[in-house]
């Protein structure tokens, strides 16, 4: 959360704002697209912060670049590709679901399915278990129960 701790801040002196008034495009639809794209791009000198929220100079440069591409007529995907080409995959906050990243994408759902299956199996054994064992208290348990009941 201590995002403004961002090294950049210390390095680049006074902070600019996150999104500056002079950056905003006059076309609201285009600006909206720029904002959406910005939220998925990482400020490279910051720590885990998107360029839309970041105060760093570099984030500002990236925001301007995004807008430049959009004004030039690029689609959202083209704009993102352009930036990834220049700055690498590291810039994406939502990693691409390809190659080794498929592990990342399938780990959660895979675990959920596995857990549900395991639980289903466990529940089946529980619902078929012999209920005799549970009705009788061991001597020790009976003693403890008597103790609790006395309170």
């Amino acid at each position: 959360m201590i995002r403004v701790l961002c090294l950049a801040l210390v390095l680049f002196g006074t902070p600019a704002f996150a999104v500056q008034p002079d950056e905003i495009l006059s076309d609201p639809a285009l600006e909206q697209r720029a904002r959406e794209i910005s939220k998925g791009l990482r400020c490279l000198v910051c720590r885990n912060e998107n360029i839309d929220d970041s105060n760093a100079e570099l984030a500002r440069d990236l925001r301007l670049l995004v807008r430049e591409r959009l004004v030039a007529g690029d689609s959202d995907a083209e704009t993102i590709d352009f930036i990834v080409e220049r700055y690498g995959e590291y810039v994406l906050l939502n990693p691409r679901a390809a190659g080794s990243n498929l592990i990342l994408y399938w780990a959660g759902p895979g675990m959920l399915v596995f857990a549900l299956l395991a639980a289903g199996f466990y529940l089946r054994t529980r619902s078929r278990a012999n209920p005799d064992g549970e009705t009788k208290l061991s001597e020790q348990e009976a003693k403890r129960l008597a103790e609790i009941m006395r309170e």
Binding site: M1, R3, F17, L93, L112, E151
Partner: protein, 654 residues
């Protein structure tokens, strides 16, 4: 001198912790009562010694003793007194000392109030707690000693990071640590039970209050951190899926799962080994959190210290305790015989589902947090995993959890019929759907987030109310309601709190509005029906900062609602600027104003936000914590606590 005394107390404490580990373990194995009882005074003494060390460090901060290196690096004579106190834990070394202090506090509490525990179990619990304390004391003494001197002493200090000079942050770490470290009690209970080879309903009843207390603190700690980020960082974000936030969130999720599974052990003596495993994992995640924060291995905005030596030490602690506990678990889990028979549709089964969803959610957060590391190490792909990924992966699990919650909470134990429960909840469901549809109809943007989120929230809240009401028979409902056990109230309040938080999160995310522009003094901005007028901007001198303060009037139509004073501060000693947003808070919405830089052509950059239901996020968290407190105050736990008088004779007989 005081610093040396503190240092000495800490070294003494380290030896006491080692003794507290070894002596009771041997005593419990050999059934020597004297050796077992040694654990109690040892735990008390350990707490006093650590408390003394902590007091010595606090004293050095308060009197601004700049011959202590840590004080010089993190304090300044002009710093307000509150932050001289909170500055003690606003740095790596001091916060580790706080961590150790809380470890010993929990140990001492268990020694003082754990009277109802069987003597061997108690001795083993305190021994395990002592071993954790010893490990962290060694970490503090050998890698992060807060008492090191600075020679020659400095005239004045370098000041505390200005962002940390905030009341919210003064309380955020202690609560968080009480939570993190409190989970060590669940861990100690679990390991002690594994050594004993016995887990029963009584064990679950003893372990639950400790876990509950830790969870309450963790909930408040996380909420405080989120609230602080919201008002301090200047754009009103409340959660960023930052690695360190995740580090606190994973133990929280597991602790929630643990609280629920411990209920099953307590009531039905099932899920024993799973509960033990969760206790180990919960504290394991606390240790992972410490490792992430302090090793610098994962880039995070929170990173305290980026010292590989510390990282390796913490990794060893993590490997020893979690690895050791899991090995013990593998050896002994088979001995934990499951009892209790229940059907596929039953409260037990619902709690299993709850545990699956929470554990998988924690797993998802874990994978997302460490994936950049794994990807770089194994696949040579340097990448980031951020907010969009977490939102997409985590939210579906929470939606499932929210949908199932009211049904599961009302299912009877052993065997139930879903249809019967669903019928009783039909009113709550109809209400939720009606609310969702209404919101869908009146909102201007056609986004599903708001209506679905509020539908879910209303379903959970109404479900909790239905659950409470269904306890009474017709006619005498109210009287019966008041006599319900506090634990039942706690359950309903905590569940409703989750609903409230869900409402807040979806409200802000779905309907937030913002306005960013250059405003001349005297000009206004219109945002969601509110008029925000910038009257003027002036400079002011604070105790250790210079402020640029705006005077802003918030009004609706002709009615003036309030005057706000957003600030931009510069802390000259630390050389850092901060933004102080001004918020007009309310039940239904926050108006959030931030003042920016002066513009070349005159005027000021100003950002204003309309944030509907923002306060519900933390209000819900507080409700959850309140539910925990209610449940903690339930008579049944006091009965268990009162039982401590009875076994005294039992000990003497041995």
């Amino acid at each position: 001198m005081v610093a040396e005394l503190g240092h000495f107390a800490l070294i003494l404490g380290f030896t006491v912790a080692l003794l507290q580990t070894v002596v009771p373990l041997v005593g419990a194995a050999k059934r020597w009562p004297g050796w077992m009882r040694f654990s109690e005074p040892a735990a008390g003494l350990l707490f006093l010694l650590t408390g003394f060390a902590f007091a010595a460090l606090t004293y050095s901060f308060v009197v601004s003793d700049f011959s202590v290196k840590l004080v010089w690096m993190n304090s300044h004579t002009a710093k307000p007194l509150l932050y001289k106190f909170s500055g003690v834990w606003g740095n790596h070394e001091g916060s580790m000392l706080l961590w150790v202090l809380i470890l010993t506090l929990f140990g001492a509490l268990a020694a003082w109030f754990g009277g109802g525990l069987p003597p061997t179990l108690k001795a083993r619990i305190l021994a395990v707690q002592g071993s954790i304390t010893a490990a962290f004391m060694a970490f503090v003494l050998f890698t992060s000693n807060p008492f090191l001197r600075l020679e020659p002493a400095a005239l004045n200090g370098k000041d505390l990071n200005p962002l940390l000079q905030d009341p919210g942050l003064a309380f955020h770490p202690p609560f968080l640590y009480l939570g993190y470290v409190g989970l060590s009690m669940a861990f100690s209970f679990a390991v002690a039970a594994l050594i004993e080879g016995r887990v029963d309903a009584a064990w679950a009843r003893w372990v639950r209050p400790w876990t509950l207390a830790a969870w309450i603190f963790l909930t408040i700690g996380i909420a405080l951190g989120s609230w602080w980020a919201y008002y301090e960082l200047g754009w009103g974000g409340f959660w960023f899926w930052d690695p360190v936030e995740n580090a606190s969130f994973m133990p929280w999720l597991i602790a929630v799962a643990l609280l629920h599974s411990a209920v099953v052990v307590e009531k039905r003596e099932s899920l024993k080994s799973w509960t033990i495993l969760l206790s180990i994992i919960a504290f394991g995640f606390s240790l992972v959190g410490a490792f992430i924060t302090r090793s610098g291995i994962i880039t995070s905005v929170h990173a305290f210290a980026t010292d590989p030596e510390r990282g390796v030490f913490l990794l060893l602690i993590l490997a020893f305790f979690v690895g050791g506990a899991l090995t013990l678990f593998a050896l002994r889990a088979g001995a934990l015989e499951a009892k209790g028979v229940f059907g596929m549709v039953s409260r037990e089964a619902a709690l299993v589902l709850n545990n699956i969803l929470l554990a998988v959610a924690a797993f998802v957060v874990f994978v997302g947090t460490i994936w950049p590391l794994i990807s770089e190490l194994l696949f040579d792909r340097k990448l980031s995993v951020g907010e969009p990924w977490f939102n997409a992966s985590f939210t579906p699990l929470m939606i499932l959890l929210g949908l199932a919650l009211p049904l599961g909470a009302m299912l009877p134990w052993k065997r139930g019929q879903l249809g019967r429960v669903a019928k009783r909840l039909s009113g709550a469901f109809a209400l939720a759907v009606a609310l969702g549809a209404l919101i869908w109809a009146i909102q201007t943007e056609r986004s599903a987030l708001g209506p679905v989120g509020l539908l879910l929230a209303a379903w959970i809240v109404a479900g909790s109310v239905t659950d409470l009401l269904s306890r009474g028979r017709k006619g005498e409902r109210l009287a019966r309601l008041m006599r319900l056990p506090r634990a039942d109230w706690g359950k309903a309040v905590a569940h409703a709190g989750l609903g409230v938080t869900i409402a807040g999160v979806s409200g802000v995310l779905a309907w937030q509005q913002e306005d960013i522009r250059v405003v001349q003094e005297g000009d206004s901005v219109v945002l969601s029906g509110y008029t925000i007028t910038l009257n003027d901007v002036s400079r002011a001198q604070g105790p250790n900062y210079i402020s640029t303060m705006a005077d802003v009037t918030l009004s609706k139509g002709a009615r003036v609602i309030s005057t706000l004073h957003p600030e931009k501060r510069v802390y000259p000693v630390a050389g850092m600027p901060t933004t102080e947003a001004a918020i007009d808070g309310g039940l239904w919405r926050d108006i959030y104003v931030v003042i920016g830089d002066a513009q070349d052509g005159g005027g000021w950059a100003m950002r204003s936000y309309y944030k509907p239901l923002a306060n519900w996020i933390w209000g819900g968290a507080l409700l959850m914590a309140l539910g925990g407190v209610l449940s903690l105050s339930d008579r049944r736990y006091r009965v268990a606590a009162g039982a401590r008088k009875a076994p005294v004779s039992g000990v003497a007989a041995e």
